[in-house]
């Protein structure tokens, strides 16, 4: 068990280092990074060179990278070029909104996907199966921005039941949460159906039925628990997607989260802020995957022995 977790931890560190290297490299893809700091209309070559020295851009790139990692380990992700305040502060201010949206989307996705997957699997080839799987197909193939706009038009503009955009009470959360959770709900429902069907055909399920266990007990205790093992992996990845992939949803619904901050940073060419958001999101993603790995060992003891 310890060896397994240690191996996963080392892999996670390698992934994070890889992401930081990529994010750091982006700064140099835009050309001389000093031009991100200065309006070339008003600066002299002397001023530009002074800035280059001040921000360390005159040093070799590997030296800059090592220094960047050193600062990041101390929690110093540098200053935003556009806002003039520490990147870390900007992200931390917006992270609660992103987490709130991601959790709400996740809860909605689970609440829809697991019952829908169970119904589809236990009532295979009936209208319930066809309806839920067609709905899942629709949810999986519908672009997020399209779904968001559709929900706004129906529930906000036509019916007037919910606000169009902004963050406030629960009523502000509903439409963006459905929008952000729709894809996960659809994919998870399909996954639950297929894995549950596979599990329900196993010998131990037949044995359970032969021993006289009720259908509910067979499906929920013997079937679903085993069917959820691959689903948990998928959900872990999807939660990371919900955290980092809410960019479009946050923009459509004017949700003040880290995704919208990322869009603004890209528009403003605030590369250090983009780097920080990418690294932080990657870190969250890696941590979630680590937690999934731990959860895996609890759900399936064979993993501990592998």
């Amino acid at each position: 068990m310890t060896q397994y977790l240690l191996r996963r931890l080392i892999q996670a560190v390698i992934v994070v280092l890889g992401v930081t290297a990529l994010a750091f490299g982006v700064l140099f893809l835009t050309g001389d990074p000093v031009y991100l700091l200065v309006d070339p209309r008003g600066a002299t070559q002397e001023q530009i060179q002074q800035l280059r020295v001040r921000f360390g851009f005159d040093q070799p790139v590997p030296v800059q990278y090592v220094r960047y990692i050193g600062n990041a380990l101390r929690g110093d992700f540098g200053l935003s070029l556009h806002h003039g305040v520490p990147n870390w502060d900007l992200i931390v201010q917006r992270l609660p909104a992103t987490l709130e949206l991601a959790f709400a989307g996740f809860v909605i996705a689970l609440a829809v996907a697991i019952p829908a997957g169970i119904v589809a699997a236990t009532r295979r080839n009936t209208w319930a199966d066809y309806a839920s799987m067609n709905a899942a197909l629709l949810g999986q193939s519908m672009p997020v921005f399209w779904l968001g706009i559709l929900l706004i038009l129906v529930f906000s503009v036509s019916l007037g039941w919910l606000p169009v955009s902004g963050r406030g009470g629960i009523e502000h959360l509903i439409l963006p949460a459905i929008t952000v959770g729709a894809f996960t709900a659809a994919r998870t429902a399909r996954m639950v159906r297929s894995t549950l069907l596979e599990v329900l055909g196993q010998d131990y399920v037949r044995t359970a039925r032969a021993k006289g266990a009720g259908e509910r007990r067979v499906v929920l205790r013997h079937g679903l628990r085993n069917a959820l093992i691959p689903v948990v992996t998928l959900l872990g990845i999807d939660f990371g997607y919900l955290l980092g992939g809410a960019v479009i949803t946050e923009t459509i619904f004017a949700w003040p989260g880290a995704g919208r901050l990322a869009v603004q940073a890209i528009t403003n060419k605030d590369i250090p802020l983009v780097q920080s958001i990418v690294i932080l999101m990657a870190l969250l993603f890696v941590v979630i995957n680590l937690l999934v790995d731990v959860l895996y060992t609890l759900l399936d003891p064979r993993v501990r022995l592998a």
């Binding site: 829809v112 706004i152 606000p163 902004g166 901050l261 060419k269």
Partner: protein, 521 residues
């Protein structure tokens, strides 16, 4: 198999319908005495000397005052805090302002000559004056700010300049003690001015709230609460307006005007922003030939583009100067592709195989045209239409539509494509408008230079007599038209969506000023 229909189905249905049965939701309309304004982005800072964006300028217009201001007709008038001002005849570099007595900032500090001097000293501090203030400092070229007595303030410039009062309209004056003693991060989020409103709440990326300033001595604003909300998606902004949860929204696409007018109001107003195609002098060598530049102007049917692409939301122009300084005798180039062909022939670019023009060496006339997407009204579509017209006269055109963030830096660094679509804002002063083409100007993105223009420019900047300035400006516009540094296009029409209950008139300089707006039913 025994189905477990009921619990699962209840769970499924309840989750699906839960959003539908939440009672009420947010109120459909803002409070009766509040106005909600939607802009694309939030302010980054409300420091009076560090802001740089239009949304910030709109917000700060309500909190701060300046020595001069533009009225609703874009006439320059003394600011609310100023009794009168004059340029001292014996020394043209001295501008003297008599301030009104008993003016106070919203925190109770007195607004006197010393406070005005402190504001200019702060703005000129290179560690502080950034963004728009840096632009103003460059144009004003201030030597000294001087408090002569309690109510007399003098601004001394390095060179005589008749347009100093125009630039002062944006030089914000904040409470001196507060800005001297408060750390920068704190003043960046809490402005203290003497304007009709004061900021009472700001949740970044959510909303900023303003309420009337109790110390304001000017006419009391009728609206008791202004809520500024950043909503980045244009479609969501319009949906907020249609739902009745917002009162003002910006950048309405022309094709949505009929939809808005069914429920609310849409206003189209000719703004001062000039949209044109810049012709670079550092790009394709053919573009250094005036005949080629004139041919490009004749090749494009700008009227057709305004009608069919912009749905008439543009005002054709042959000059880069706004009224009232625009020369009425300068007419736009006529759409005449035959004349365009003749000019290109004369310049040595004759029609070759595949309807592409070639020079004597057989090299094709291959030109790059770049345009942004999403910055100006229908900018990508306009660029594409122009590209089509240029192809019709035999130009082997390389058309590139680029996202704004990537589009603008090469233009500023003077390494854009041969032709590029750009817009230039205006403060409705002829000299400022035409300065875009002055050879040392940072806005002369195409590196155009004309000696005759430069000598007229040198006359203009030292001339204080309005009639003489007009004559010079008219001559300069003749030169610009003839030498064609641009493909002249149009003045952009700014379209606003406004709620039925709000009585408000937009301004041509793209500013949202609600101090005189009123709310109906």
């Amino acid at each position: 198999m025994k189905p477990f229909r009921l619990p699962v189905m209840i769970a499924l249905v309840s989750v699906l319908v839960a959003p539908l049965i939440v009672p009420g939701g947010a109120p459909a309309a803002p409070a009766a005495d509040s106005v909600v304004v939607l802009q694309g982005v939030d302010a980054v800072t409300v420091d009076p000397h560090m802001s740089s964006s239009l949304p910030e300028a709109n917000m700060m217009l309500h909190v701060f005052e300046a020595l001069t201001m533009y009225d609703d007709n874009m006439r320059l008038v003394p600011g609310n805090i100023v009794e009168s001002y004059r340029n001292l005849a014996n020394d043209r570099t001295v501008w003297e302002f008599k301030l009104k007595p008993n003016i106070r900032f919203s925190n109770g500090e007195a607004l006197d000559a010393a406070a005005v001097k402190a504001a200019f000293d702060r703005g000129m501090n290179p560690q502080i004056g950034r963004g728009n203030t840096s632009y103003l400092n460059n144009n004003l070229s201030i030597r000294e700010a001087r408090a002569v007595d309690a109510l007399t303030f003098q601004l001394i410039t390095r060179v005589p300049s008749p347009v100093v009062p125009n630039f002062l309209a944006e030089y914000n004056i904040g409470a001196p003690k507060y800005y001297a003693e408060t750390p920068l991060p704190q003043v960046a989020v809490r402005p203290i001015g003497s304007g009709p409103y004061r900021m009472t709440e700001w949740r970044k990326d959510e909303q900023m709230v303003m309420e009337p300033n109790p110390t304001y001595t000017g006419p009391r604003p009728s609206i008791r609460r202004i809520v500024w909300r950043p909503v980045p998606d244009g479609f969501s902004r319009i949906n907020e307006l249609l739902r009745g949860s917002a009162d003002v929204t910006v950048n309405v696409p022309p094709d949505l005007v009929p939809t808005i007018n069914r429920v609310q109001k849409a206003f189209g107003l000719q703004g001062g922003r000039r949209i044109f195609i810049g012709i670079t002098q550092y790009g394709h060598p053919a573009l250094r030939d005036r005949r080629v530049r004139q041919a490009l102007n004749h090749a494009v049917d700008v009227d057709a583009i305004i009608t069919s692409v912009l749905l008439k939301n543009g005002a054709r122009t042959g000059s880069n100067v706004n009224p009232p300084w625009q020369n009425p005798n300068v007419k736009p180039y006529a759409f005449d592709q035959r004349r365009a062909g003749q000019l290109l022939d004369e310049a040595g670019w004759r029609m070759g195989p595949n309807n592409i023009r070639v020079n004597a060496q057989g090299q094709p006339l291959r030109i790059t045209l770049q345009g942004p997407r999403g910055r100006y009204l229908k900018d990508a579509e306009v660029t594409q239409a122009i590209g089509q017209y240029l192809r019709q006269v035999g130009i082997d055109l390389n058309l590139q539509i680029i996202d704004w963030a990537q589009y603008v830096p090469p233009i500023l660094q003077k390494r854009a494509g041969d032709l590029y679509l750009i817009g230039s804002g205006s403060n409705f002063e002829g000299q400022a408008d035409i300065s875009d083409l002055q050879m040392n100007s940072s806005s002369n993105y195409g590196n155009w230079r004309n000696d005759q223009f430069e000598s007229e420019w040198n006359r203009l900047i030292g001339e204080f007599d309005a009639a003489k300035r007009r004559e010079i400006l008219y001559r300069m516009q003749d030169i610009v038209k003839e030498d064609a540094p641009y493909i002249f296009l149009y003045f952009q029409v700014d379209i606003y969506g406004v709620s039925q209950r709000l009585n408000w008139k937009p301004l041509p300089n793209e500013r949202i000023r609600l101090t005189q707006a009123t709310l109906g039913q």
